[in-house]
């Protein structure tokens, strides 16, 4: 379904966020991309929905190469759940979910907010599936809690029946207690809708729990690819120690927080 073929992403300032990554994700798989922050997880995902384009190599979606030409057609099959939710504040929950179907909607309907009845029904059904109530429909998303906002984000992502769902650190800005519920929801929804998922996380224990398959990225390279069972504590330690070692050159800048991998070990 998804395929990266020796992909490198170089930014204008010369830094390489992704270095020669090859990866194939079959249809219906829940694939977790694990790695410390700054490893290149977001960039990897952003090359699938056209928010970034590879400097070298090819990105394929359903057997088709993503190019400037095919992008506008292909990106309709890809939905994204964002770390910061990326909902429109001051807009109602209902319109935020409906905006997930904007590419299908005529301009005059978008301008007047008059979405076709089937789309409105679908929005209600999806909001019900993510555990919100009809009372939430007219409320501004900025009034909701973080967890509820991400639920709205998930409902929005499924508005166009995506073949692929990209989840870019979907729980990084949420309370750890809520994170599990959100990931369960994401997992269940993608199962029910038969969606292929590429989900980036930085917590190994969550990755083990929800991923069918786990790939790990460090400094732009793919350093691990295997099942949750194969992701042992020693692999995690290697992964996160790499990140720690880079910072340890300055004794004052030692990260004050416990890294989840170490805490788990």
């Amino acid at each position: 379904m998804l395929k990266f073929d020796r992909v490198t992403k170089r930014f204008p300032d010369g830094t390489e966020a992704i270095r020669g990554v090859s990866l194939h994700v079959p249809r219906g798989q829940f694939c977790v991309v694990l790695g410390p922050s700054g490893a290149g997880k977001s960039t990897l995902l952003r090359m699938l929905n056209g928010l970034a384009s590879p400097s070298e190599g090819e990105v394929m979606l359903g057997g088709e190469r993503i190019t400037d030409k095919s992008l506008s057609r292909l990106r309709r099959k890809v939905a994204t759940v964002h770390q910061q939710f990326n909902l429109t504040p001051r807009m109602s929950v209902a319109l935020n979910v409906l905006s997930g179907a904007l590419p299908q909607v005529a301009h005059w309907r978008a301008a007047t907010g008059w979405f076709p009845a089937p789309l409105r029904e679908k929005a209600c059904r999806l909001l019900d599936e993510v555990g919100l109530t009809p009372d939430h429909l007219p409320r501004r998303v900025s009034e909701l809690s973080g967890g509820q906002q991400q639920r709205v984000g998930i409902a929005r992502a499924f508005m166009m029946d995506p073949a692929v769902l990209l989840a870019d650190e979907p729980v990084a800005s949420l309370d750890p207690r809520i994170s599990r519920g959100i990931l369960e929801l994401l997992h269940r929804q993608s199962r029910n809708h038969g969606t292929t998922v590429l989900c980036s996380l930085h917590q190994p224990e969550l990755a083990r729990e929800f991923g069918d398959r786990i790939v790990a990225v460090s400094q732009g390279r793919l350093v691990f690819d295997g099942t949750p069972d194969q992701l042992t504590d020693s692999v995690c330690e290697d992964l996160y120690h790499g990140a720690l070692n880079r910072r340890e050159s300055d004794p004052l800048a030692r990260p004050p927080v416990a890294v989840p991998a170490l805490a788990a070990a």
Binding site: L51, S72, R76, V78, N86, T88, P103, V105, H107, R156
Partner: protein, 336 residues
């Protein structure tokens, strides 16, 4: 351990907030102010004002400024709100059915006149019958003020309609290409650079006296203002929601409608209300060059030295602006 921290602290540096160059800048700024202050006659302004205040509290013998203010106050007061028309000038006056609140009075004026037979100066009494409308002039001014408000409203509407497409092309992240961006940016600058008074002057030549020239002038200047601020708000809006909609292929216009507009709406309403407020004030002024509304009346009365009338007009303008200000403050607090 403590030795180590002492050593490290010695390498720290926290500079004071001011340095020699800041003092130099301050001195240069003072010098410029001193030079331009002399050209602007600031010393005379201070002298005359202090003298005027001194005169008011009884410390100074005389003050030209105080005399001027007194003359203005005396000529403006009492405000003129009534209107008198000679009945001889009114066609078909129905004496049994006079206009609302009005009544007929007879005025006697004594004038010394030369008797052509005796060649003596005699005092003659001339009787004129006048129709007095006690609030007639006030009503006239209010009607003119309403016209001014309508001009302001249409000017604002025109400004919004013009500035929305301009802002779309003038926002760097939505303009289709550099050419469209530069064109609309320069159009906006041009619109803003022409003062209403100047464009009204030319528009009066094109469209003749009346409100058309007035609201066109207001609309053009307002569009220059709104276009700039609308565009800058689009550019500064949070990118997150826009990326979310863009990544599923929503297209620019729909992304703008759903990813940007809800975010910037409060500012847009605030700017538009400010333009409406400004247009009401400007509409009173541009009437002076013949663009309709209360300004024309003001200029006419001023030129005829009818300062009682001028006082009424100024009071109505002030009250209108005040009421509008309260109204827009309420509207803003309800919407935001």
């Amino acid at each position: 351990m403590s030795d180590l921290s002492v050593d490290r602290a010695a390498t720290w540096r926290l500079d004071p907030p001011f340095k020699a160059r800041h003092i130099l800048f301050a001195l240069i700024a003072l010098l410029i102010l001193a030079l331009t202050g002399v050209r602007m006659e600031v010393p005379r302004m201070v002298h005359d004002t202090v003298q005027g205040v001194g005169y008011a509290v009884g410390l100074a013998e005389q003050s030209p400024v105080a005399d001027g203010v007194k003359r203005i106050a005396e000529s403006v007061w009492p405000l003129r709100i009534s209107e008198e028309i000679e009945t001889a000038r009114i066609e078909n006056l129905d004496r049994n059915n006079l206009p609302w609140l009005s009544h007929i009075e007879v005025r006697e004026t004594r004038e010394p006149r030369m008797n052509t037979e005796t060649l003596q100066i005699e005092e003659t009494v001339e009787r004129t019958e006048v129709l007095v409308k006690p609030v007639g002039y006030l009503m006239h001014v209010l009607a003119k003020m309403l016209e001014t408000l309508e001009m302001a409203l249409w000017g604002t509407l025109l400004a919004v309609l013009l500035s929305v497409p301009l802002a779309y092309y003038a926002a760097a992240n939505y303009a289709p290409n550099r050419l469209a961006y530069n064109l609309s940016r320069s159009t906006i600058s041009l619109f803003r650079a022409i003062p209403e008074l100047v464009s009204a002057l030319f528009l009066v030549l094109a469209f003749g006296f009346g409100p058309i020239a007035g609201f066109l002038a207001l609309g053009i200047h307002g569009a220059g203002f709104l276009g700039k601020f609308y565009a800058e708000d689009i550019e500064n809006a949070d990118r997150g929601p826009q990326e979310a909609l863009q990544s599923i292929g929503s297209g620019k216009i729909k992304t703008l409608l759903y990813g940007v507009l809800p975010q910037v709406m409060p500012q847009y309403i605030a700017y538009t209300l400010y333009i409406l407020d400004r247009n009401v004030r400007m509409a009173t002024v541009i009437g002076i060059v013949g663009a309709g509304g209360i300004g024309l009346e003001l200029k006419g009365r001023f030129d005829m030295f009818n300062f009682g009338h001028v006082g009424t007009i100024l009071l109505i303008i002030f009250l209108t602006v005040f009421v509008l200000d309260r109204f827009s403050a309420r509207l803003r607090s309800r919407i935001l």
